[in-house]
Point group: C2
Chain length 502, copies 2
């Protein structure tokens, strides 16, 4: 009976990225194949197939002739109405023996890295297997040769862009600092100086905004490779979402599990960053690395080790990497959340007086380094040249041209509900927990509600009077606003004012 | 709205041991709490609560007022008809930082081991977190102090039996060898010699039969602690299923993930074995360790390391441990599968001429060692004394008495369908892959169909003629039989006959 296949049923169950299939426990296929709950199964349909985790059904949720699919499995299989689902045992995940080898002390060689990345790419790894892989590489377990092998394997798993130019500039920020949205300022400065900067950015996974989320409030970002190429050829740069271009595609899968486990692997981090850059066809990369107690890179020692790995692995991959460490003790700019960050960006690009100075300064420093790295500014002169591009309006013109080429510049949305938090006493703004601040903006609705988030009215070291505004929470619904304020009541560490002792 | 709670709905979805909760994606609680697919959530009901993984529903599977539970979540929460489910964020799994510490090179100290084991026991670890923990301890990553800390933490997580006797004997077999079912022979020999041997055994997880599965075809094994105590006080021994007694309860959880990953952790293995023994109130333990290329312990070096860890950790826990290594190159006895193994056991206990000699020999050697370890046989005389117990019928009498005390001796069931595989040519039985043989027995239906499995007609080294029976597959349904034979067609390594060269 299994040969005839089962009717596909979209159950509407969202299991995030892990494909799940549902079979009645009393179905002939479960019995014949010896499938149990949590078995890994291969589900085929037409010429397509997917490896899924099985959940068995002990109720009438499914008819005896049906098999269910989770949303992720449905997306991957896309069964047509007349198609049937067939189930079989997947071949064993042979590269798990490479993972075990690494665990038992064998170095991860290039062939092993390729096998692992290929199996992850083909969706053969269950989440627990991904967790084992990520754990096997955690901390400082990968040496330079292993990181390079992994980077190469990750690049080869996806597409690779070629711009036919000797210098293709790129930047990357390690570990988000809320509001540190420099890319939309840096790209037009660099592009208007005649360098190529085809920038792909990500959407937020755990943060209140990714660069793609912020940029999406200003212009369309969902361009495919052809669309992206057209914009870059016309304007010398773009700021698009990397999700519709398949660059180092296993990266997202690996990062998802690392985040869920809150596990850092320095080697995997380097491979993740550089594989995306190599695949994007970049030749010169500036890495922005904020260092601070609540940032991803917590201290100078870790920063130094990471810099060494990034530069050396880059070299092995034919990529010039420069690392810029910066202060990561507080959020950057005023807005946190897609639209609120977009407003800061516009203020900087338009040379407005109320533009946040720290965001402007950070963007100029990074742009200046890229201008030097790209050879269009002499050493030590990049910063001034970047400043001139901004002051003259050239950067703003280029930004508008890029937005138009991507589909049209637009006005960021505005939130319906606001609540301003004020100081209760005289004092000095003493601490900011950037993780809690990010959480607060997320609870207010960012990034799903693009107008949601918060706007800081103060910076560390500012002196405040009782009643002075500290920050304003923006939300699209009263519920989200209240939820954020509830969190705040229990998390005073978001922003703390130390009372004056005098 | 979340405060009023949602109507519990049993969806009948079996996700094995991981509790899963289902909420409509558009439900106020998802929005208010910021829950997404794969979020970890705390589900409360009456005074009970469980940590579950969330799947969100994008269909009408659930009404807006309902929340769904998987079978595992339903079992743990047991909602009454008038009760409602409330959802909240679980407190962070703080012991994951101990797992990360171990990964980053910090030794696992006793307090950390306790925190980890407590969180696993309370169901706070998602499967990927369990995978990370298991991976962090994989291979030889745990030293003696860490193994002892872990063993102690695992014991303390569950109940602990006390028999009020200075010597309580126990045995354990490391890594199954198909058909190696010595316990039901050893226990009556030891008990009839006046020693206490309250044996708890497990059901099969990945093998065609566990001792509890085999024993269940001969007598009831589902006794609770009180019932077990009554049998032991009356007969000096028992052979019951350990599942209804809560001894080192996290062990099953950890083993499930280790098996799914096919990861061995020597330290975790030692802690798993010894924690169950200490919790069972045992004082003297004999460990049977079959060594062979397709067994769990693959070579003498690994056997030696394990023996050292077992003995030294046992010492730290106040447990006398003796290790007996044995040959693990082929299956033991003739039958593989619950009822078929039970028949071998009966043949040995009844001193029947057709009793498999290897099973008899193995059981006697182990029983003899336990008699010496327990001080009722002089060194070197245990084997003879065990043989005498068997030959005289004392062991058989004791076995019957134990079965009666457990609820009554019964006849093992017989399978409806059989297929005998014969030799195709003259030759010698040269190789047996014990893992493939186990797989074959499982595909035939064991252990769910207790009569299913296979009966070997030959042993390694036997010379066979064309047409001579090699083994017979037993199955309850034609479908299972054919499924096993299909597997066999593609896996000739199960049992291979080398052609004579003369």
């Amino acid at each position: 009976m299994a040969d005839d296949g089962l009717f596909p049923r979209r159950l509407g169950i969202d299991t995030y990225q892990e494909p799940v299939a549902y079979l009645r426990q009393d179905s002939p296929v479960c019995r014949a194949e010896g499938f149990n709950a949590q078995s890994r199964v291969r589900v085929s349909c037409g010429g397509r197939s997917v490896i899924a985790t099985l959940n068995t059904i002990r109720s009438d949720l499914l008819a005896p002739t049906e098999a269910g699919l989770s949303e992720a499995a449905w997306r991957l299989l896309r069964p047509a109405p007349d198609e049937r689902l067939c189930f079989s045992h997947p071949r064993p995940v042979e590269s798990m023996s490479d993972v075990r080898g690494k665990l038992y002390g064998r170095p991860l060689e290039e062939a092993a890295a390729r096998r692992i990345i290929r199996d992850i790419h083909e969706g053969r790894y269950a989440d627990i297997e991904l967790a084992a892989y990520v754990t096997a590489c955690a901390g400082s377990r990968l040496d330079l040769a292993e990181i390079t092998a992994l980077t190469r394997a990750m690049v080869d798993a996806g597409d690779r862009l070629d711009w036919g130019r000797p210098r293709v500039m790129d930047k990357h920020c390690v570990g988000g600092l809320p509001g540190n949205r420099t890319t939309p300022i840096v790209v037009p400065i660099v592009a208007s100086a005649g360098l190529l900067m085809p920038k792909t950015s990500s959407r937020a996974i755990t943060s209140p905004a990714g660069t793609a989320d912020t940029m999406a409030t200003l212009a369309p970002v969902d361009l495919d490779t052809r669309g992206m190429r057209r914009v870059v050829e016309q304007e010398g740069g773009c700021i698009v979402w990397g999700g519709s271009v398949s660059l180092s595609p296993v990266d997202d899968t690996i990062i998802r599990v690392e985040r869920a486990l809150d596990l850092d692997s320095e080697g995997q981090l380097v491979a993740s960053i550089l594989s995306k850059k190599v695949a994007a066809g970049s030749t010169h990369v500036l890495v922005d690395m904020p260092v601070g107690p609540t940032a991803k890179v917590r201290n100078p020692e870790m920063a130094q080790r990471l810099e060494h790995h990034l530069v050396a692995t880059g070299e092995a991959m034919g990529l010039a990497v420069r690392v810029h460490t910066s202060d990561g003790v507080q959020a950057v700019g005023r807005g946190i959340g897609p639209a609120l960050e977009a407003r800061d960006i516009l203020a900087v690009l338009q040379n407005r007086e109320d533009a946040p100075g720290d965001l402007r300064e950070r963007a100029l420093v990074l742009a200046g380094e890229i201008l030097e790295l790209g050879g269009v500014a002499a050493p030590g002169e990049g910063l001034a040249q970047a400043g001139e591009s901004l002051a003259s309006g050239r950067a703003w013109d280029k930004f508008r041209a890029i937005c138009e080429a991507q589909g049209g510049l637009r006005e960021p949305p505005v939130a319906r509900h606001r609540h301003t938090v004020v100081a209760m006493h005289h004092g000095t703004v003493a601490h900011m927990n950037t993780r809690s601040i990010a959480k607060l903006a997320k609870l207010a609705g960012a990034p799903a509600d693009p107008a949601a988030g918060l706007v800081l009215a103060v910076r560390l070291g500012d002196r405040v009077e009782p009643g002075a505004p500290l920050f304003t929470v923006h939300a699209e619904s009263r519920g989200s606003l209240e939820y954020a304020l509830d969190f705040l009541a229990n998390h005073p560490e978001c922003l703390s004012v130390e009372e004056d002792l005098i």
